[in-house]
Symmetry: C2
Subunit: 163 residues, 2 copies
């Protein structure tokens, strides 16, 4: 698993900059902008997928439109923080569909979760099933999102990489 710096040249970055925001964009269009042929652009995209720079191409859905209008940010504090305990918790989070994102972090809390649910009742059920019944969860605090100001997986690429 080698997800670290695959030496990307400036062309790769310029391609990614356009492509990551809209994968429906024809390679031909990208090629025109960066000064490359269609084939060259696609070869590079294929390589970027293979080396893991592009993890996957996904569709971003509007949570409200699919019946999940509520977003919660949850800070979880664990009791035991041995490796095995952490690993177990991580795997539990991976398997929970409500957990859209999960970060293992420094600071007061051990984990930060982004949770999407259909209703507060559903959130309550989630906390019961996922947190309250876990003996190793010492405590957690919930922040309900009043607005999703900015979302997505888009990444800010360096404007001028090494030359």
């Amino acid at each position: 698993m080698h997800k670290d710096d695959a030496n990307l040249d400036e062309l790769d970055l310029r391609i990614l900059e356009r492509y990551q925001h809209d994968t429906l964009l024809p390679a031909r269009t990208i090629g025109e902008e960066v000064g490359l042929s269609t084939a060259a652009v696609q070869r590079r995209l294929k390589r970027l997928r293979e080396v893991g720079v592009i993890r996957r191409e996904v569709a971003e859905l509007a949570p409200k439109a699919v019946g999940l209008p509520i977003t919660c940010v949850v800070a979880v504090d664990l009791d035991q923080e041995r490796t095995a305990d952490l690993e177990r918790f991580k795997q539990r989070m991976q398997g929970l569909p409500e957990v859209q994102q999960c970060y293992y972090v420094t600071g007061q809390a051990d984990f930060i979760l982004i949770v999407l649910v259909a209703s507060m009742e559903a959130y309550d059920a989630f906390t019961q099933r996922a947190l309250l019944t876990d003996a190793n969860v010492r405590s957690f605090t919930t922040s309900v999102a009043l607005e999703r100001v900015k979302t997505g997986v888009a990444v800010a690429l360096p404007p001028a990489p090494p030359r």
Copy 2:
């Protein structure tokens, strides 16, 4: 702006369930799985885009691979919380490339940010430019992500919608 419940039938949901995780998947394949023709699947996808259920199709990049190995979760507490102040802060966040996500939330903090940076120096520079110099930012706390356990924008669709 009508991003609310576009009445989705079970077929739509099953299509989305597959498509949202991999937009490269041929409509033909999806059609086989849900029992629909290629054309029907594409018609539905087009409609789902038009009504805003599908917000956009994006490529998820590996942050490390593009030189942004550090993820921080930042809880920001504002001083003045009048509408104008909130709006100004939101728009600032929208414009900052390091801010990958931003939620306006209830609870102790006013905003939760997911910030991606190349180094701790870059993070320090970010806090200076984005937070410390903002007179309306009362305080903020940073949690550095030791691991991105679960990421992405994938959403858990209801397993068995109305029949």
